[in-house]
């Protein structure tokens, strides 16, 4: 090698060498003698900072005493990554997954059952509100512990209420009232008086569209006294289902579906000032407690309030409840060390600290007073109390929930786009889901026979 080539190689290689010696390290230095518990989560930014702070404290206290080090990693699409790692035989020891995948993973034995471990580690779950533990069970077995639970409620713009002649302290109490209020709150720009094509909506009372904050497209029949899964059948084409989607259809017809679609098609970035509720373009939305944090950031002057989402009758207050989960994947290498960490995490002060930082509710029956002080959501008590409703419901604990989820999304969008009338759409969706459930049962039976 000539001198010139040698110098060139050194010049080019020097930055690489410097990076290797002084560059960032992928892993934190782990004190000697600690057992590493690998923890995968989805949280980044402020939520990631909050969990990292708690993990650090665990590592400095309980972890130091018990010789455990929790290695926290935030990942996109953590549910799928956990699944693939579990299938590959190298799962994390703890993972944070969402409710959309939970029943499917539990049904496919991707998760470690926790009942025995909870007893062994003397974890007291009696302080939790029952709904949060119900959601963590599949087939009467506890497969998860709640991490950041939430209910969803009706946010409404008080200024819009006043302008429409409605009482800003009297939100709608039934679904019929909601439609009535929504119509009164909707305002149009009539454009050219001779040309109806020139009309547009400048303020929409309410929309259940998934592209406009109505993210829980499957939930509507529940507000009409329906429950989607009875343990054997996904019941969509029922009285409750028909009432729910007729309610949705009628409202859109009355306002003018083309104009509603035009309004909904604006593709806003939801976590920004473009959010139609924060921008004052949408008067009422079904949303979770995090919307208040966005309001504080992007629309600090917004005059709004929160109330339970109306049900078909005032007699039964249906409440949509959901949570993220802590799970121990099947064949995790250090399940007992993971349980030490989870015991720490689900202790009331720690879990409430996490949920306060995430703007969520307290999973406990009797939240500590400190939980509410300075909580980012001024209406957190409303969300919290809603979780005590005897009519609270979570997503259907069915093994092929992801497929039913997709079919109900397709059905809801077909109705909202005017492609199919509710009765026809419900019948078609029910038939498709019945086939999927039957296929799943047939495959499960065959698998049992083979095993």
């Amino acid at each position: 090698m000539s001198l010139r080539n040698l110098i060139s190689a050194l010049v080019l290689g020097l930055p690489v060498l410097l990076l290797l010696v002084f560059g960032p390290r992928g892993r934190t230095e782990i004190p000697a003698g600690r057992t590493v518990v690998v923890y995968w989560e989805k949280w980044t930014l402020a939520e990631g900072v909050a969990i990292q702070r708690i993990v650090n404290r665990f590592n400095e206290t309980v972890g130091a005493e018990r010789g455990i080090w929790v290695d926290y990693t935030a990942l996109g699409d953590v549910d799928k990554r956990m699944l693939i790692a579990t299938a590959g035989g190298d799962p994390p020891d703890v993972a944070g997954i969402s409710d959309r995948f939970f029943p499917q993973y539990a049904a496919q034995s991707a998760l470690t059952p926790l009942d025995a471990l909870v007893r062994e580690f003397d974890i007291d779950l009696s302080g939790f509100k029952p709904i949060w533990l119900d959601i963590c069970r599949y087939d009467d077995t506890l497969f998860a512990l709640p991490s950041t639970p939430f209910t969803v409620a009706l946010y409404y713009n008080r200024a819009h209420f006043r302008a429409a002649g409605l009482d800003p302290d009297r939100p709608p109490r039934t679904t019929a009232e909601l439609n009535d209020f929504a119509e009164r709150l909707t305002r149009f720009d009539r454009g050219d008086p001779g040309d109806p094509q020139d009309d547009r909506i400048v303020q929409l009372g309410f929309t259940a569209s998934p592209s406009m904050l109505g993210w829980w497209h499957w939930a509507w029949p529940n507000f009409f006294d329906g429950r989607l899964w009875d343990g054997r059948r996904f019941a969509l084409d029922t009285d409750a289902g028909r009432a729910a989607y007729a309610w949705m259809w009628d409202y859109r017809e009355r306002v003018g579906n083309r104009l509603v679609l035009q309004f909904e098609g604006q593709q806003p970035i939801i976590e920004s000032a473009q959010n139609p509720f924060l921008a004052g373009e949408l008067s009422m939305v079904l949303q979770g407690p995090w919307l208040s944090a966005w309001a504080a950031r992007y629309a600090p002057d917004l005059d709004y309030a929160v109330a339970p989402f109306p049900s078909v009758s005032t007699q039964r207050q249906h409440v949509l409840a959901s949570t993220d989960f802590f799970v121990i994947p099947r064949n995790a290498r250090r399940p007992r060390e993971a349980m030490v960490f989870l015991k720490y995490m689900v202790s009331q002060p720690v879990l409430e600290e996490l949920n306060r930082a995430h703007g969520k509710v307290s999973p406990f029956r009797r939240p500590q007073p400190a939980f509410y002080e300075g909580h980012v959501n001024p209406f957190v008590r409303v969300f919290d109390e809603m979780a005590t409703s005897p009519y609270a419901f979570g997503s259907p604990p069915m093994p092929n929930w992801t497929e039913a989820w997709t079919e109900t999304l397709y059905m809801t969008e077909s109705i909202q786009r005017g492609v199919a009338r509710p009765t026809a759409a419900l019948t078609a969706a029910q038939e498709k889901i019945d086939v999927l459930v039957a296929q799943q049962e047939r495959m499960a039976a065959r698998r049992r026979t083979t095993e």
Partner: protein, 295 residues
């Protein structure tokens, strides 16, 4: 060791990274998916052999039929439009016009924009009220411009339109092909009194025919694998009335959301056979109309 054997060993060693990668990362998994297509397999539990069950389900699955039709319609709209547009642009930009380099670059640049970024930008451009496209249409007198992404009738057209944004890649290949056609052929055609249309028909298109064949085959494969643009533009949803729900999207959904790896493998094999069949058909149809310089 003979020289030929030494050459063979050296050749195999030098190409080892490729063929080892091919065997381990492509051929192996490909063979595995063939077996898995006859199984019920969720990744989490061992595969259970179910014979032709997955293929039987495909035959009666209405969503499968829908994605099949959507993909065929997309291919039927996109491939000819893309081909004509790319050839037209290549011919225009092959002429000595002012700003030739600028126009070539301007048409090629969108192809280096990542698909996801392009999808998001087009989502905003096609928004019914605030989007630039409908704003322009209103200004030229269209009172009620389409709900591009919300209407089953317009969604597919919107997607084809956006896909044409990437016309730069085939255009550059056609441009290179045009420059390979001997000028003497044009001179001879002119001497024989051929008009511009005649020159296009009898010199340019036959001269470009191997390139057209190549681009057609690539386009067929790409059309059957369309995924990222609709996935981004409809925010992972299947589009209005599933109008923009395509073969690969449904395959992905079955594999990684519904955990039906066996079913997805069966879909993969059907897709491979369709692409092979269409490619074979294209070669068969083109055997008399493709002209190589050596011929």
């Amino acid at each position: 060791m003979t020289r030929a054997r030494r050459d063979l060993v050296a050749g195999l060693l030098w190409t080892a990274p490729w063929w080892l990668g091919f065997l381990l990362l492509t051929a192996g998994p490909l063979a595995a998916t063939l077996y898995l297509s006859f199984c019920d397999y969720s990744l989490l539990q061992p595969p259970v052999f179910t014979g032709l069950e997955n293929y039987r389900q495909l035959a009666v699955d209405p969503t499968f039929r829908k994605v099949l039709v959507n993909t065929v319609v997309y291919a039927a709209l996109w491939i000819p439009t893309m081909t004509v547009l790319a050839i037209g642009l290549a011919i225009l930009l092959n002429r000595p016009i002012r700003g030739q380099a600028f126009f070539r670059a301007a048409i090629f640049v969108p192809t280096i924009v990542p698909l996801v970024a392009a999808g998001v930008v087009w989502m905003w451009l096609l928004a019914p009220e605030s989007g630039l496209v409908n704003e322009l249409l209103r200004r030229v007198g269209v009172a009620s411009p389409p709900l591009w992404l919300e209407s089953p009738r317009w969604a597919m057209i919107a997607l084809v339109m956006v896909s044409l944004w990437f016309v730069g890649t085939p255009m550059v290949i056609y441009l290179a092909g045009l420059q390979e056609i001997p000028l003497t052929l044009y001179e001879a055609a002119r001497l024989d009194g051929a008009s511009s249309w005649g020159q296009l028909r009898h010199v340019t298109l036959p001269g470009l025919s191997p390139i057209i064949l190549f681009n057609l085959v690539v386009a067929i494969i790409n059309a059957w694998q369309v995924f990222a643009l609709p996935y981004v533009m409809w925010r992972t949803r299947p589009g209005p009335d599933r109008a923009t729900f395509f073969y690969t999207t449904y395959l992905f959904e079955n594999a990684f959301t519904n955990l039906k790896m066996g079913y997805a493998s069966a879909m993969g094999w059907v897709q491979l056979l369709i692409i092979l069949g269409l490619t074979g058909l294209t070669f068969w149809i083109s055997r008399r109309s493709v002209h190589y310089v050596s011929q």
